[in-house]
């Protein structure tokens, strides 16, 4: 008896390869009317890792998740989740995934417990099984106290937490989180982060979309930067940040010292381009990739040349910095035609000293 397909590739190894990547997309295209939401997106998320899909509004993040969650069919290309093709075996995919979207997709007219109980039933855990599972999840995610209140009375953070929990009823091996913390206060955001980290540690493969580099940095093993429906950079978050450098800014008491400050900052940033704003009395620079700027050193060097700073800050790169570095334009730019204009605007803003 042979376990070998005619191509000579043993089936078992094919299965192993599929299992190695819990989420795969190759050349996925999706068009909505005149809008090309996805233009050949490639993605490969190893099982048991967290992948952060990072991009601005309209980059195609949500469409990518909807294709993977079998909610929209791709026009072209293939997508596989947990080894199952989304187009040919949608039910097998659905049995392997949990989805928490941008809205808190929970029933407001029911209690938190009702919501989980009903989802458990729909997942065919049976009446008792669904009740037990609801109890377990409420307890684990600190929602027992609010379990019997109508979701209508929940705070935004609690709703989102319940929504996340609602995607975990079957303990799915693959979890899709579409902007799980957008619009949440810092405390609620941290609670979601903790929950996601806990799930990842337990071996769940997580694909999350986000507009925040900080969130991707905190949670993801791999970050995929997506723009205009295609991946433009992939790698661990540290490497992504190193490729961009740090943003350094100082505000001076005396505008006459701006020139001297600019020289100091440029040197510290590895000859980075310095932007000087006379009216605000600020100097700003983004360091060359790989060059780290430390705040104490910045203050000492400014002091050494007699520059008095009333404010000094060293910030990790923002998503805007990442975008500027990767695409050479300000994020949120529209069609290709306007991109050149956006780039021109961006450089015009930076009055080089």
């Amino acid at each position: 008896m042979s376990d070998t397909a005619w191509t000579g590739i043993p089936k078992s190894s094919e299965a192993a390869r599929n299992a190695a990547f819990a989420v795969e997309m190759s050349g996925v295209e999706k068009r909505f009317g005149a809008t090309r939401a996805l233009r050949g997106l490639d993605l490969a998320v190893p099982a048991g890792t967290v992948c952060g899909l990072l991009g601005p509004n309209g980059a195609g993040k949500t469409t990518a998740v909807r294709v993977l969650a079998t909610l929209v069919a791709p026009d072209r290309g293939a997508a596989r989740v947990a080894g199952h093709d989304v187009a040919r075996e949608p039910d097998a995919v659905r049995r392997s995934i949990g989805l928490a979207g941008q809205h808190a997709a929970v029933d407001e007219g029911l209690t938190g417990r009702d919501n989980l109980h009903l989802l458990g039933r729909l997942h065919r855990l049976g009446g008792r099984g669904a009740r037990d599972r609801a109890e377990e999840l409420l307890d684990r995610f600190g929602l027992t106290g609010a379990a019997d209140r109508l979701v209508r009375t929940y705070s935004g953070g609690m709703r989102r937490r319940l929504d996340l929990v609602a995607s975990l009823v079957t303990a799915p091996p693959v979890l899709f989180l579409d902007e799980p913390t957008t619009g949440l206060d810092p405390r609620s955001r941290r609670q979601i982060w903790d929950a996601v980290q806990e799930l990842a540690e337990a071996g769940t493969t997580v694909l999350l979309t986000t507009q925040y580099l900080e969130e991707a940095d905190r949670l993801a093993d791999t970050v995929v930067v997506i723009d205009h429906g295609a991946a433009i950079a992939t790698g661990p978050p540290e490497r992504l940040k190193e490729s961009i450098g740090t943003r350094v800014s100082v505000t001076l008491a005396d505008a006459g010292q701006l020139g001297r400050a600019a020289v100091v900052l440029s040197a510290l940033a590895g000859n980075g381009d310095v932007a000087v704003d006379q009216d605000e009395r600020t100097v700003e620079v983004v360091s060359r990739p790989g060059v780290k700027v430390l705040l104490p050193k910045l203050v000492r060097e400014l002091d050494a040349v007699g520059v008095v700073a009333v404010d000094a800050a060293v910030r990790p790169p923002s998503l805007d910095d990442v975008f500027l570095a990767l695409t050479g334009r300000v994020r949120g730019g529209g069609s290709e035609d306007s991109d050149a204009a956006a780039t021109a605007d961006a450089s015009a803003e930076r009055k080089v000293a």
């Binding site: 079998t70 909610l71 979207g101 997709a105 039933r121 729909l122």
Partner: protein
């Protein structure tokens, strides 16, 4: 589990969701029950005080044998109007059922609940069937209450028991079809606010019928619209089967009310049912 068992389980779970809403918000059920009672008062006594229905007196007169029926013995035009009205209100309650179903479906789409359900390995037909069956169950209660109120204000069943059972069955079938209409509209609209605005459009649909006044007095074109309105066929069938008075009309659906009503229900179900399931299954694509 077989496919049928899965369908049944998903249908039941989906029914539970709707019924739980009523349990968690007792006010919801109270409103569902209060509105029909209010309609009896508004239409039966406010409109009824000024409307006489041609043919109503003969309808009532034919039932003078009914013992202890306070309305029948009087056989006046006002009591006659309420006998004429009740089958109209039964059908009106069914048509009104479009609105909460439509708004609820649109809300689920807008808030992502539909997407979550669609991302699960759940029978699409089962989900929608459960919702409509639960609505049907609630409307059995509403219809029973409305019939009881009707009996209090002088409405009587003057036909045979089998005909009356047939009339109630037809009304429930119509209610079931209306739920599917509401589901399809709600899924198509997809936004709660937009669905709320559509409610305004449903109202005239229920008013341009034979439910409240005879079509004979309407301008010709409006009478034709009213007579071919699916709700009118159901109302007329109700009047014929309950043995209640009705105004004469030569239009085919009025002459053949029971087959016309059944035909309308079948058409609405066969069109809206599959389209609603398809819309649900392919939402956003």
């Amino acid at each position: 589990m077989s496919a049928v068992a899965n369908l049944a389980a998903d249908t039941w779970s989906s029914m539970l969701r709707v019924l739980l809403h009523y349990r968690r918000s007792p006010g919801l059920l109270a409103v569902s029950l209060a509105v029909p009672v209010l309609m009896v008062v508004v239409f039966g006594y406010v409109f009824g005080s000024a409307i006489t229905v041609p043919g109503a007196e003969t309808g009532a007169a034919g039932a003078t044998g009914a013992t202890g029926a306070p309305g029948a013995s009087g056989a006046g035009s006002v009591d006659g109007y309420r006998e004429f009205l009740m089958p109209g209100l039964f059908a009106m309650v069914a048509v009104n059922g479009i609105m909460p179903t439509m708004v609820g479906a649109a809300r689920d789409v807008g808030r992502g609940v539909t997407d979550r359900l669609r991302s699960m390995a759940v029978s699409r037909t089962g989900l929608l069937l459960g919702q409509t069956l639960a609505d049907l169950l609630v409307s059995v209660v509403v219809l029973a209450l409305l019939a009881a109120v009707g009996l209090v204000v002088g409405w009587r069943i003057r036909g045979g028991a089998a005909d009356a059972a047939g009339a109630f069955g037809l009304l429930l079938l119509f209610r079931f079809a209306m739920t599917w209409v509401g589901l399809l509209l709600g899924l198509a609209v997809g936004k709660e606010e937009a669905a709320g605005q559509l409610v305004v459009a449903v109202f005239p649909l229920a008013m341009v019928t034979n439910a409240f006044v005879p079509t004979g007095g309407m301008p010709g074109w409006l009478a034709a619209v009213a007579e071919w309105n699916p709700m009118s066929a159901v109302v007329q069938a109700g009047r014929d089967l309950f043995g209640n008075p009705s105004a004469p009309s030569a239009a085919w659906p009025m002459q053949h009310s029971v087959p016309a009503a059944l035909l309308w229900c079948a058409v609405l179900l066969l069109v809206c049912g599959p389209f609603a399931v398809r819309k649900f299954a392919s939402h956003g694509t």
